[in-house]
Symmetry: C2
Subunit: 138 residues, 2 copies
Amino acid sequence: MSDLVTRLRRHAWRMTPQRRVIAETLDGAHVHYTADEILDRACRLMPEISRATVYNTLNEMVALGEVLELNLDGRSKRYDPNIEHDHHHLICDGCGATRDVHTLADPLDSLPGDERHGFAVAEASITFRGLCPDCRRS
Amino acid sequence: MSDLVTRLRRHAWRMTPQRRVIAETLDGAHVHYTADEILDRACRLMPEISRATVYNTLNEMVALGEVLELNLDGRSKRYDPNIEHDHHHLICDGCGATRDVHTLADPLDSLPGDERHGFAVAEASITFRGLCPDCRRS
DNA sequence: TCCTAGCTTAGACTCTGTCTAATGAAAGAT
DNA sequence: ATCTTTCATTAGACAGAGTCTAAGCTAGGA
Ligand SMILES: [Mn+2]
Ligand SMILES: [Mn+2]
Ligand SMILES: [Zn+2]
Ligand SMILES: [Zn+2]
């Protein structure tokens, strides 16, 4: 049983066959698919699934707090089922490869009170950029 | 004379009237306009300027390293002429207001070697999210 | 002046994502 | 079991952001 499916069942939310296929497609560690990649993979299991359902379902999973929506590159959004362990992302400027990374310190602690401008700051995410081993060589 | 225009003149890059208008529109501290906002403002000074030129010019300024491209919200990219002082961004989840912020520690230092996966990590940017004073009240 | 490289332009095009209106499935009530 | 109501799914139209193309236009060097 997919871990994401298990988490979704805890919510008052109909688990339809389409939603199950999307959740199983998206499940796993270090997964950062775009909506269209999820549609492609889901179509292998359920060829008649529609694009609108994939988009609707991903938005609902995000609203339920069980999936994170990432804007890493300004192109398509990516969906990350790994909400358990707080983590950040390291992206290769050459090929776009994305890795999960963990930091020593919580970035929220690095923002002093007089830099908060009266905001109730809830979250901080770091995007690290550089060149992956393959792209360094070439 | 706009500071951004001054910086751009140091490059081997033709300073046409269109490019000057775009650079003067984009110049300033704490500026984070979208391409369409820049087009609107530039049109007040030069009504016949084209959308393609605005997009081309912004991409060239980014390639020259004189302007930063920000992907803060997954909608339109924003352009930031403030490359001098390293800074990060604080965004209101309610209204989208964006503030420049400065951190105590460099986030690059919080990524240990065994979390770099062989990458040559060049840059780290933090996006802080929360509610601005206005959005907290309502 | 002429030539050439590079710049600007309108509009077509692509990609990503949302919306609509109709159909279809699920679950509680009877 | 059937009805009823609510919610989910679907195809396709639509919208926003950005890129590309082909043609004409400048600016500056020979
Ligand atoms: Mn991740
Ligand atoms: Mn800024
Ligand atoms: Zn790479
Ligand atoms: Zn706000």
